[in-house]
């Protein structure tokens, strides 16, 4: 049985914000992550504020400039099956289609996907770790095979669990937030918070703030995007390693673009090293080999996750080879 909570389903975004701004309130979108957090009593939740009475936060539409607007409550299955998303923002369609299982994608939303809580098994169980206000990260010297190789900063070693977040960062998306002090736009790249900045929060969301929509700028012609996820089995699982790419080509040459890793760091992790190697170049075997080697430069594996280095290298090689073949 879940712990008791106050419950409200407001009829306006403003009312939702007001309810979320007080006490230990949590937004409920699809609930696929929140229900687990409640059940395991990971953090106290005094009030659940359901967003399901806000149909205006649902849906995918093209903007006048050819970009995309995605309501935060849009289900992941609706996103991954949307013809425009598949055709013009392929990496995002792929990423949304890689989340969990069909049932989870039918219920889980894009907003919930980028705001979900970490999956570190110490965080998800009875350990009072740094992220829950305790004094220690139990993963550093513990069972850390699924933890990060970048960005731990000597504090907390989670990986960000979202599949869509790296694709959104690669596509240079922006989140529109609404809160007690009005609304603001935050590039997805700046939306996530490293543990060295604040170990107790995953996003820049202030109290009472919600994500209302995601906007993606129109892709410049010649842009191709993709998402690749490696997991331990074929049915649902979180990424051991993943990569989202959005590369802009001029014939066979890469002009510029972004390469963003999942399963690597506490936030979606831009591999500027790979980006720099491919920029301005044709994706020859040599360039691809150099990029694959570069993806792990600066990595700081823990005792049990060193296998991720080879995994990321192999994945970059395969993904860039596919990109080259379709260029």
């Amino acid at each position: 049985m879940l712990p008791s909570f106050d419950y409200i389903r407001p009829k306006s975004v403003q009312a939702a914000i007001t309810h979320l701004a007080t006490g230990s309130a949590q937004a409920h979108a699809g609930g696929t992550d929140l229900m687990g957090c409640l059940r395991e009593r990971i953090f106290p939740v005094g009030k659940v504020v359901s967003l399901s009475g806000l149909p205006e936060l649902r849906g995918v539409s093209e903007t006048a400039d050819g970009g995309l607007r995605i309501g935060a409550l849009t289900a992941l299955s609706a996103l991954s099956e949307h013809p425009i998303v598949i055709k013009r923002f392929g990496g995002l369609a792929q990423a949304a289609g890689e989340v969990g299982s069909p049932q989870l994608r039918n219920q889980g939303t894009l907003g919930g996907n980028i705001c979900q809580k970490p999956r570190c098994w110490y965080y998800r169980t009875d350990f009072t770790c740094l992220r829950k206000g305790g004094g220690t990260c139990f993963a550093v010297d513990g069972e850390n095979q699924f933890h990060c190789i970048f960005g731990g900063g000597g504090t907390c070693f989670i990986v960000h669990p979202s599949d869509t977040a790296p694709a959104l960062v690669a596509l240079n998306a922006t989140a529109r937030l609404a809160g007690p002090r009005g609304s603001r736009d935050v590039p997805l790249e700046k939306f996530f918070v490293l543990p060295e900045v604040d170990v107790q929060r995953e996003t820049v969301l202030a109290r009472g703030e919600i994500v209302t929509e995601i906007r993606i700028p129109p892709p410049v012609s010649g842009t191709r995007s993709s998402y690749r996820k490696v997991r331990a089995r074929r049915s649902w699982d979180f990424a051991l390693a993943g990569v989202a790419m959005a590369l802009r080509f001029d014939r066979k040459r890469v002009i510029d673009g972004r390469v963003v890793l999942s399963g690597a760091a506490p936030i979606p992790w831009r591999s500027k090293e790979v980006e720099q190697i491919v920029r301005g170049k044709e994706l020859t075997v040599d360039v691809i080999a150099a990029a694959a080697k570069a993806v792990t430069s600066g990595a700081e594996p823990l005792e049990k996750n060193g296998y991720k280095l080879a995994l990321f290298q192999g994945m970059i090689e395969e993904e860039l080879t596919l990109m080259a073949a379709s260029a």
Binding site: L2, D6, H28, T32, M35, S52, Q103, S235, W236
Partner: protein, 207 residues
């Protein structure tokens, strides 16, 4: 806590609860009127922790009006309040699929769904696939393909296949695998489950 729909928390009956609690009674009365008018019922204000509300659930084409706490899952209400035990509790954390039901024709996990969130939507459970006393098409295909051992995962598998076939009447083997990828089978009956899904598609097409 009582699963009896007429009892509120602490064994108070709904009627004497309404007459004894001032402000709460107004909220409850409003929701009752909305119900009578056939409108979707959303708690019009905060439902305090532990308080039951009237929840109208449309399950297998029939509306059930139950008293439920807002923290009760759809799985709990289906099984313990309404008495439909087709959906099974397995992991109760979105990992196994035993609790799969259709909501507006789409497969979802009843264990991760709050009952209050389902008001105004159509729920289909395994029982809803029956054709009177006869097994429904997907169920019959599972029997024909011998697609289970212990059978615990089967109701969820059947619902996942039903949802898949409603969206895609002629799925490829790969689409079938993906369609039931949210349903684990401890007995490892997967090959037969894939066959059953294929057979169900044929049966539905009249083959």
């Amino acid at each position: 806590m009582s699963a009896n729909p007429t009892n509120g928390p602490g064994g108070i009956t709904r009627r004497n609860f309404l007459t004894t609690v001032g402000a709460g009674a107004i909220g409850a009365a409003v929701s009752e009127n909305a119900l009578a008018a056939g409108k979707e019922v959303a708690p019009p204000q905060v439902t305090p922790a532990g308080r039951s509300v009237e929840v109208a659930l449309r399950v297998n084409g029939r509306t059930h009006v139950v008293q439920a706490e807002t923290r009760w899952t759809l799985l709990h209400v289906l099984r313990e309040v309404i008495g439909l035990t087709g959906a099974k509790p397995g992991c109760e954390r979105g990992e196994c699929g035993a609790c799969t039901v259709l909501i507006d024709g789409i497969p979802r996990y009843a264990c991760l769904t709050l009952a209050v969130e389902v008001q105004g939507h159509d729920v289909t459970t395994l029982e809803g696939l029956m054709d009177g006393e006869k097994l429904g098409t997907v169920q019959a295909a599972f029997v024909e393909a011998d697609a289970f051992q212990c059978g615990y995962c089967t109701p969820g598998q059947v619902m996942a296949v039903e949802g898949l076939l409603r969206a895609n009447p002629n799925p490829s083997v790969e689409e079938i695998r993906r369609g039931v990828s949210g349903n684990l089978c401890r007995c490892g009956a997967y090959q037969h489950i894939f066959k059953a899904a294929h057979r169900a598609a044929e049966l539905k097409a009249g083959k």
